[in-house]
Subunit: 332 residues, 2 copies
């Protein structure tokens, strides 16, 4: 418990300290956001705010849990999580970098993005499948017991990893939206892992303890980032941020065999992805009609006149409630 | 655990349902806020937004834990908490009512406010002192053991109760500020009580279980209220709201003998009160000089050009970190 709290606080302070260093540097390097041409009109004013701010939480998220795990018998869990975090984060970094340097709003082509993503996901899924601490079965919420997927575990996990990363990316459309939702998710996962590891000695087997410290550091560093990203944002996380958060979230769930929690605690991401799919399909099928004013769904609310901070608070509160349900479902 | 989650969710839904009923009713009754003449200029635009929205969380906070406690062996704790909640809430209600009806920005005179507040605090403190489950000693954080105050418990508790209520009132100056801070505090207290009561059977002795359910309902109903009070606010909580929150918070700490946590988890309130005292003292001593641009402290930041939502996020994140420290201090 105390190491977890220390992890949150150190990660928070590190992110806070990085903010005033990273933001001016991003500005100097001209990493200003080129706002997506198809977004709401009101977002045009956000032109010039630096992007790639995800670095602010990426660094403490990776460094702090590793340092605090020293002495623990670490196990493979934390490294599986770091593979997902850094792997997907790197794809996002390249995407951001190209966007900014070529001054065009779209970075990598869809194919250039999806191929490395799937490659990372396959490596992570096979690793988890072969790891004796993870294997092919998932914990069931609201019931004792597990669900063994067998070989199907690998494609399922690839789908979940790639899906979460891209859904997180879609949810990153309003100031503080993805960061607030992820903050709640990581806090919930830290709590679940705290309960799961209660009584176990981390010096004997600290596999999940280290993943728990990672969740704490993630929550802390996102809090630090929120200080500068909350409405009105002074920096955007960029794809490096959203891919990192999506990868970290799906990676933690994979390592802790909690992937069945994702549709509950990350419903906001699922809904964002679904709204885009529904909108696009309907638009094509009807040759030009729309269901939502704009997709992803948060832009639908925005164009309906809801102020940006209120949409963020709505998503955050919804996520808090869903996370409580998930907690009750796992702990009883 | 599951009853606690149910308490949060039902209270949230009740508050959500009350919002659309209470707000139009307040508007119809012309309970629009007469903005305090001495506040920042930018707050003038908030004229006409209805006040007394605290009713939205007051009702579920009181009703939901009582209903969910049915069957438990309730003990006196929850009633002590309800005395503080409803007692101080009533003083706030009268104050708001007079403000609105007389169309003046100041309601009761300071003396008219402080006398009933002290009366309620004395009754609550004597009750706690005589109650065998509470008594005159407080739990010590960061150490095993207790601190027995003896007879001094009563004046100390009166000071804490009245101080918390009025500090909460001072902190209620920006959209969502007091509600966000209190939300975090009640969530923390619920967690501490969950740990404290772990293993005990509420049907044998449910004294603290019921207080825990109260904290859950408070957190849930404040979340529901935040949906309408977050920036830009559609309703203000009014004194009925801030006195209720302050009374409930100090009452829970008293009933659970956790009053020594208050300076940590409610530091935002302490700081607000201190900033007013420092400002006023300095102003008088120097015949007109100021330390802060305006007190309470959050107005100092606001006049310094910090956007309202960012100040709220700063206070909330600070409170989260302090609450983590408090949790670690109590649980170890």
């Amino acid at each position: 418990m105390q190491r977890l709290v220390i992890s949150v606080i150190i990660a928070f302070l590190t992110a806070m300290a990085l903010g005033p260093v990273v933001i001016p540097w991003l500005k100097r390097m001209k990493f200003g956001q080129t706002i997506y041409d198809l977004g709401p009109e009101s977002h045009k004013k956000k032109q010039g705010i630096p992007t790639m701010g995800g670095i602010i939480f990426l660094v403490p998220m990776v460094v702090v849990p590793l340092l605090l795990s020293l002495g623990y018998r670490m196990g493979s869990g934390i490294f599986m999580v770091l593979l997902c975090t850094l792997g997907f984060g790197a794809v996002g970094f390249v995407d951001d970098f190209i966007k900014v340097k070529r001054k065009r709003s779209l970075g990598l082509t869809p194919i250039q993005k999806i191929v490395p993503q799937v490659a990372i996901a396959v490596v992570a899924a096979v690793w988890a499948f072969l790891d004796p601490r993870v294997g092919s079965s998932l914990r069931l919420p609201f019931a004792q017991g597990e669900w063994d997927l067998g070989w199907f575990y690998i494609p399922a996990m690839v789908f979940i990893l790639v899906g979460t990363v891209n859904s997180a990316n879609l949810l990153d459309g309003l100031d503080g939206l993805l960061s607030s939702v992820s903050l709640v998710d990581f806090a919930t996962l830290a709590t679940i892992l705290l309960i799961v590891t209660a009584g176990a000695d981390p010096f004997e087997d600290g596999n999940l303890h280290c993943v728990m410290l990672f969740c704490g550091a993630a929550a802390g560093s996102i809090m630090g980032f929120l200080r500068v990203n909350a409405y009105p944002a002074r920096v955007f996380m960029g794809d490096v941020g959203s891919f990192t958060l999506g990868g970290a979230l799906a990676g933690v769930c994979m390592a802790a065999r909690l992937s069945l929690l994702l549709p509950i605690i990350a419903l906001a991401m699922v809904v964002s992805a679904l709204s885009v799919i529904i909108q696009t399909t309907y638009y094509k099928a009807t040759h030009g009609k729309r269901i939502f004013r704009m997709s992803p769904l948060h832009h639908h609310f925005e164009l309906g006149g809801m102020p940006e901070p209120r949409i963020v608070s709505m998503y955050t509160i919804g996520t808090v409630l869903l996370c409580l349900v998930a907690l009750a479902g796992f702990v009883g």
